[in-house]
């Protein structure tokens, strides 16, 4: 098994040939290489730029956008993007962290149209807003639903 690497410098030195590492060397704020998976953290202002950079580098297929709620720690929300390169047969995970009182991030629908539904899902279930999204409405819950069910402070059995 590959060694676990933490921190931008360690990862970027050990995987200097990795296409995603090359593309994001100027943008990344943190990086992790764990269990054979590359995770690169970027600041939320740079998410669109990071998306375009990895797309240029051959990571053309957006597999998934989702979120993790690290309540009660801050920054609370972690938005995770899984991006696949069919030519390199590799994945990269982009991560951006958002604080609770300003849970807004730029939409990447302009880079990958498939992000449309994924971002609506994250908005619906976590209450994270995506600025520039063409149609940011709830997708699963009714329009008048109170709260965002996948937040950690939302009870498993719902409010009664």
């Amino acid at each position: 098994m590959d060694a676990v690497l933490n921190g931008t410098q360690a990862v970027f030195e050990a995987h200097a040939d990795n296409a995603a590492v090359k593309a994001l060397s100027g943008i990344a704020t943190n990086a992790k290489f764990d269990r054979g998976e590359m995770t690169i953290t970027v600041a939320r202002e740079n998410i669109v730029a990071a998306g375009e950079a990895v797309k240029q580098a051959g990571y053309t297929f957006l597999e998934d956008v989702t979120a993790v709620d690290w309540y009660p720690s801050e920054p609370r929300f972690q938005i995770t993007y899984h991006i696949l390169s069919m030519s390199l047969k590799a994945r990269v995970r982009l991560v951006a962290r958002l604080s609770e009182d300003d849970a807004v991030i730029d939409s990447i629908v302009g880079v990958w149209p498939s992000a449309n539904f994924y971002e609506r899902e994250v908005f619906d279930l976590f209450g994270v807003r995506f600025s520039g999204h063409p149609n940011l409405r709830r997708i699963m819950m009714p329009e008048d639903w109170q709260g965002h069910p996948l937040r950690k402070d939302y009870p498993v059995e719902g409010y009664r």
Partner: protein, 418 residues
């Protein structure tokens, strides 16, 4: 009034007929006379509930918006409240046509977090059952798709063979549909002795049966007329919209996770990945039919090469001990008690594991905080992305084509709701 002159009903002129025909062949309709209709929430080819809000002009589709969110399984939230091993039966419920594939994706993800080594016998059994699941799922797709187009016989034929596979599942797992057969670390039970004969009998008849379906459909003029050139999706659009699986390969993208990013020992098997460049409903039909043949080949290889040995990894703190050991060894009893009541801790970290399900890339993103319950489980389901591409495929086509296209993307709504 339509800008096209209303045909004289008693004596239509040639121009009227031509104009009317053109209007029905994808010429963009005028915008001022559209109508909104709801298709669904129930339709035999959508396994589950889906409502499509269609704006139509005459019979041409102007726009299409899927309205999802009826099932409300709350599955991701529920996973966070369960032990790791208790999530396995939940994953069956995501997609009732391929429970084994869901089991596999989840188990592989957790095994990656744990760093568990899976014995080869368990890997082969997993591959074998996964490919049977693929055939079974494709049979339901073919049956319901053909039924949508109006060919009922195929439906009955397909369900006959599906029954054979469900009997195999019942024999091996004790359950026909919600099998929960895989475990974190291996599979739950050693298959019974008649399992091998049963699978072999099925593999012997299946190639002939696939020919039978093709005899009924492939040369059939109605089938060709309803499928060819309908629901076109280009390779660029498919990639941009996140489409995976047979619809992606039918659009000419040669990508299959089993071959290109192998998991669970798929690198040991020889098979072809069917690809078509047409990108229409017909291409998806051809690709899936070929896929069934390839799956039969993989099953045969797995059955012939099935190694002897254990079916679970050697990890007593994670895997429940044998019944026999529990009766004789105190240690085994303690492990059993601890696993059932307290679960097992999983080292902190996050992994994403994707497998090639019958519908495309099914990925499990599991985040662990080091406790016995997953901090977050996210399912990346193929139908969700493919549903986004539906508008691209249906725009400008006829209302009846929407039915053919939905059938061709083989959608399961349990995958889509959260």
């Amino acid at each position: 009034m339509s800008p096209i002159a209303a045909p004289d009903m008693l004596n239509p002129g040639v121009e009227d007929v031509v104009a009317d025909t053109e209007r029905h062949q994808g010429v963009p309709p005028p915008q001022d006379q559209t109508m909104v209709i709801n298709m669904g929430p129930q339709h035999p080819s959508t396994h589950g509930v889906l409502r499509l809000v269609l704006e139509i002009d005459g019979e041409s589709v102007v726009s299409l918006a899927p309205d999802i969110g009826y099932l409300h399984t709350g599955i991701e939230k529920t996973c966070e409240a369960k032990f790791y091993q208790q999530v396995v039966p939940l994953t069956d419920r995501i997609d009732y046509l391929c429970p084994m594939t869901n089991n596999l994706a989840y188990c592989l993800a957790v095994e990656k977090l744990l760093g568990l080594e899976i014995p080869e016998r368990a890997q082969y059994l997993r591959v074998l059952l996964n490919e049977l699941t693929r055939i079974q799922s494709h049979l339901v797709w073919l049956g319901t798709h053909a039924m949508d187009i109006g060919a009922l016989t195929v439906f009955l034929y397909c369900f006959r063979e599906r029954e054979d596979i469900l009997r195999i599942f019942e024999n091996v797992a004790g359950q026909r549909m919600m099998t929960s057969y895989f475990r974190i670390g291996g599979v739950s039970l050693e298959p019974p002795l008649d399992f091998y004969k049963q699978v072999q009998e099925f593999l012997n008849i299946m190639p002939d049966r696939i020919k039978q379906y093709e005899n009924l459909l492939t040369g059939n003029p109605i089938w060709m007329g309803r499928l060819k050139g309908i629901g076109y999706l280009s390779a660029e659009d498919a990639i941009a919209l996140g489409v995976t699986g047979p619809p992606l390969r039918a659009s000419g993208v040669d990508w299959d996770l089993r071959r290109d990013m192998p998991y669970s020992g798929y690198e040991k098997f020889k098979f072809n990945v069917p690809v078509s460049n047409d990108g229409d409903v017909w291409a998806r039909y051809v690709v899936r039919m070929d896929e069934m043949r390839e799956s039969v080949k993989i099953c045969q290889q797995a059955l012939d090469g099935l190694p002897e040995g254990r079916i679970v990894a050697d990890a007593p703190k994670i895997i429940l001990p044998d019944r026999e050991q529990m009766k004789t060894q105190m240690e085994a009893l303690i492990h059993h008690f601890k696993i059932v009541t307290e679960g097992f801790g999983v080292p902190a970290g996050e992994v994403y594991q994707a497998v090639e399900s019958p519908r495309g890339e099914m990925g499990y993103y599991v985040v662990s905080d080091g406790t016995a319950k997953p901090y977050r489980v996210h399912m990346r389901n193929p139908s969700y992305a493919t549903l986004q591409a539906l508008e691209t495929m249906c725009k400008g086509r006829l209302l009846a084509d929407v039915v053919a296209v939905i059938g061709s993307i083989d959608i399961v709504l349990g995958e889509i709701d959260r």
